[in-house]
């Protein structure tokens, strides 16, 4: 009886191991690690570009270098598969950092490209998405970042540092998918452009591509993106150089650092029409005063500075709102989404015609600026005459 049980147990174990196992045993060195994936468009075909890392050497002399492969194909996935053939190794996607699209792909609609990334088991939802501006995807991948090994690692590092450099809003694929499927919000993607740096082309992440639905409708530059960051509440740290009037001494460029930023957007219904109230409170630190003869211990001067800052930001927010409302008609702040969430009754009424209401949407704007850190423990430096 014991022996029979043992035989049964052995057979069961073998069945578990041989049949139920996930028999996708691989050897790690046969994989080609994809770091970045890019899609460009030359109608009617897609150009799929992969940045991979080539590992070589073995033993104690292992070396890693990036290489860029591209192919044209009818779809993104078939292009990716075709590149395995070119590389001679199996492309391994889960370690990919970035997904790049050219302006043309974005203008024609990103859904075709993004759908594969979202569907794929292998590509992670945490891949950063970018749109290239004034250059092709392949040019970006072939550029030379000064420090990082590969372009993808460079872009990954920049995206992780966003809170310290601002000027763009990093977005991962899963967030993009959410924005695409939600009502009343237009996705924005960070843009990449190439700059010359000592004879080399270096990729720089700055500015924003504004989408309506899945099609790109226009660009915001770095400064506009800063304001967008403020309104979206993703601005952690950043500097603004603002010409500030100091009493009767004239205007001086003073650098302020944002140390705190609270934003509150309220959807309203006024006279049967939708409206919005934006309340922005910002705390500033004074970073650089230069030659400005300003004394922050003087409450009058501080009040004047705060008022000037408020006016400055109010103007720039108005400019941005005008651009996204009138020029793009793209609800980048997700005011429609807020309506849907907070005033579902109203949204049921306006929702279907949001595109019609949005360009003329009246926005009440309240900006409060506070200088909380003067960066000084004594009177500022003065050069004696």
């Amino acid at each position: 009886m014991k022996r029979v049980n043992l035989v049964r147990l052995t057979i069961l174990t073998l069945i578990c191991v041989l049949l139920a196992g996930c028999w996708d045993y691989i050897e790690i060195e046969t994989l080609e690690f994809v770091f970045g994936l890019g899609v460009d468009r030359v109608t009617p075909e897609y150009i799929v570009i992969l940045e991979m890392v080539k590992t070589s050497g073995g033993g104690q002399h292992a070396q890693v270098e990036p290489k860029v492969l591209s192919t044209s194909s009818g779809s993104v996935s078939s292009g990716g598969a075709a590149l395995s053939n070119v590389a001679g190794l199996r492309a391994f996607w889960p370690h990919a950092y970035v997904f790049l699209m050219s302006e043309q792909v974005a203008r024609e609609g990103i859904l075709d490209a993004v759908e594969y990334i979202a569907r794929s088991r292998q590509v992670r939802g945490t891949v950063w998405v970018f749109v290239t501006k004034d250059c092709t995807v392949e040019e970006v991948f072939k550029s030379k970042p000064p420090v990082a090994n590969s372009v993808s690692e460079h872009l990954n590092a920049i995206s992780l540092m966003q809170e310290n450099i601002s000027g763009f809003i990093p977005l991962q694929v899963w967030e993009l998918n959410q924005d695409l499927t939600k009502e009343g919000i237009s996705p924005v993607l960070p843009t990449i452009r190439l700059v010359h740096e000592r004879g080399e082309l270096v990729p720089v992440v700055e500015g924003t591509a504004v989408l309506k639905g899945d099609r790109m409708v226009g660009w915001l530059d770095g400064h506009e993106s800063d304001i967008l960051c403020l309104l979206k509440g993703v601005f952690e740290r950043g500097f603004f150089v603002i010409n500030t009037e100091v009493g009767e001494h004239g205007r001086f460029p003073i650098t302020y650092e944002i140390v705190g930023n609270q934003v509150d957007i309220k959807p309203l219904v006024k006279d049967g029409r939708p409206a919005a109230a934006i309340k922005l409170t910002m705390q500033f630190g004074v970073e650089e005063v230069g030659r400005a003869p300003i004394n922050f211990r003087d409450m009058q001067q501080t009040d004047s500075v705060e008022a000037q800052l408020a006016t400055h930001f109010k103007d720039r927010i108005r400019e941005l709102l005008h651009k996204v409302q009138v020029e793009f008609n793209a609800d980048v702040l997700g005011i429609g989404q807020l309506f849907r969430r907070k005033q579902p009754e109203a949204w049921r009424h306006f929702g279907s015609d949001w595109d019609v209401y949005f360009p003329d949407l009246p926005v009440e704007l309240e900006v409060r600026c506070q200088v909380v850190l003067t960066g000084l423990s004594s009177a500022p430096l003065r050069v004696r005459d």
């Binding site: 578990c16 191991v17 139920a20 196992g21 996930c22 996708d24 045993y25 691989i26 050897e27 790690i28 060195e29 994989l31 690690f33 890392v53 590992t55 070589s56 050497g57 073995g58 033993g59 104690q60 292992a62 070396q63 890693v64 391994f92 889960p94 370690h95 950092y97 292998q122 992670r124």
Partner: protein, 512 residues
């Protein structure tokens, strides 16, 4: 041997063939021609007591088991210089000799040949007097003994440096020195039909559960084997779950450890000829406890315990997790690491699983090669193995560098929990095979299987995982943490001690 009949004690004894005869010549004849025939280690020293009434006597002893100076000085010399009064008859002769002449401290009287045989092997001298049917036994034990030295298998930085030797009497005295209380009891048993090895059961009368003592005694008495050469025989013959690789009886070479275990309410078994004492019941937590834990500060002791638990996990699981990750789940490894592992494995000809098993085998060969060799040669082997083989193998791309790290880490971590080290190899191997077949799924599968095995085991009626699965503070006090001594109020609950209170200063706290 027809006269070796066992008779029950207490019955009136008719004179039988086993009884010593008053005639010295008859006695010598039986001993030389029958009981000890062809045994040349038995010495017969004939002599006569002095005038006026010389009487023939014989001193019998086993060569090299006695102290010769002792016998000649305190037994032979007084016997030969004095005379036995003429009027004495029979047993009176032996009693007179023991009371008035012999200067040895121990003297017994025996009346049977079979007893002479047993006693001689214990290293005593037996005096037969002509005309006396009683033999006098004098203590003169004196065989080669090893000194009490620090045990090589359990050396400590802080703690007593005494270790058990092979002599049972010495070993018991080492424990008794630490437990100088009349409650410390020792029961003796003889095991082995040929070896007649003395086995001692040690316990504290007012603490240890009597059921436990009886059970240990019952199991040892049930042993029917020809010889017991080391306590390992007893351990294997009486332990629970004999098919499981996990030990259910503890072993130690240190008297302080035995004393501590006995104080907790356990039973210790000492075997003559073995420096390893057995303690029971033995639970899994004890494998992670070291005697130094109790001598050092409790915070550092707790930290070292944690290190031991982590090391056990590392030594059993690292290769399996490594294989699972590189063969099935490269997406779970941080990107930089996966790239560098991939680069390191680029020119390695073997798949990961072959590498793990081959390197594990090499490590075990090196270890086994070094263990039983004299220390200088053993060191040479480890140096050749570690530096030359390891370095050359990586340079020649036979194995990858990460694999050397995994094997090295595994090997070193194994020595942190020495009592489970041999078994860790088996666990490691089975987990590696499962991980190679099923990835992390297989690894978890294996861990669950071992957990089931552990939870099904028990040692002398105590569940093997006791105190690891409880939330009662007094039961947890000596598991992953070692609480300060002033909080170790009670003895372990699972030992069902008669007296659970350890710290008397904490009255009224027995309820926990």
């Amino acid at each position: 041997m027809f006269f070796w009949k066992h008779t029950k004690k207490g019955e009136p004894q008719p004179r039988g063939l086993d009884d010593i005869s008053p005639s010295l010549r008859t006695n010598l004849h039986w001993l030389k021609e029958d009981i000890f025939v062809h045994d040349q280690t038995i010495a017969y020293r004939g002599f006569k007591t002095s005038d006026p009434h010389p009487r023939e006597c014989v001193l019998i002893y086993a060569d090299n088991m006695v102290k010769h100076e002792y016998l000649s000085q305190f037994v032979l010399r007084p016997m030969m210089r004095s005379s036995l009064p003429k009027h004495l008859r029979g047993e009176e002769l032996a009693h007179y000799a023991a009371e008035r002449i012999l200067e040895s401290d121990g003297a017994e009287f025996i009346t049977r040949y079979s007893e002479i045989g047993d006693k001689l092997m214990d290293g005593v001298g037996v005096i037969l007097i002509d005309g006396c049917p009683v033999a006098v036994v004098v203590d003169a034990q004196g065989w080669a003994k090893r000194a009490v030295t620090e045990p090589p298998s359990e050396s400590v930085v802080r703690g007593p440096r005494q270790g058990f030797s092979e002599d049972l009497g010495v070993n018991i005295s080492l424990v008794r020195l630490r437990l100088s209380s009349p409650n410390f009891k020792t029961r003796f048993l003889h095991v082995g039909t040929q070896s007649k090895t003395r086995v001692a059961i040690l316990y504290l009368d007012n603490v240890t559960s009597m059921e436990l003592v009886e059970e240990v005694e019952r199991r040892i008495k049930a042993i029917d084997i020809d010889a017991v050469l080391d306590s390992g025989y007893i351990q294997e013959l009486i332990q629970d779950s004999p098919y499981s690789p996990f030990p259910t009886i503890g072993q130690t070479e240190r008297p302080d450890v035995v004393a501590a275990k006995v104080l907790e309410g356990r039973v210790a078994v000492l075997v003559d000829g073995s420096p390893f004492a057995l303690t029971m019941p033995y639970l899994l937590v004890e494998a992670f406890q070291a005697n130094e834990d109790y001598y050092n500060h409790w915070i550092t002791a707790t930290f070292h315990r944690l290190v031991r638990y982590i090391s056990f996990f590392v030594t059993t699981a690292t290769p399996a997790i490594y294989i699972a990750l590189i063969s099935y789940h490269p997406q779970l490894i941080p990107t930089n690491l996966v790239i560098s592992i991939s680069a390191a494995r680029k020119n390695v000809p073997f798949p990961g699983i072959v590498e793990v098993i081959a390197m594990g085998l090499v490590f075990e060969i090196l270890r086994e090669g070094g263990v039983r060799l004299p220390r200088p040669i053993g060191q040479a082997i480890s140096i050749v193995g570690a530096i030359v083989l390891g370095d050359a193998a990586v340079s020649a791309s036979l194995v990858s560098a990460p694999m050397i790290i995994v094997v090295g880490l595994t090997g070193v971590a194994g020595f942190v929990v020495p009592s489970l080290n041999d078994l860790a190899v088996l666990i490691r191997l089975s987990l590696v095979l499962l991980a190679a077949a099923l990835g992390l799924y297989g690894f978890v599968f294996g861990v669950i299987a071992f957990l089931l095995l552990l939870s099904s085991m028990e040692s002398f009626g105590v569940p093997y995982l006791s105190t690891m699965t409880t939330l009662v503070p007094q039961d947890l006090k000596d598991t992953v943490v070692r609480v300060p001594w002033w909080q170790m109020v009670l003895r372990p609950r699972y030992l069902a001690s008669k007296d659970r209170q350890r710290l008397q200063g904490q009255a009224g706290r027995t309820d926990r």
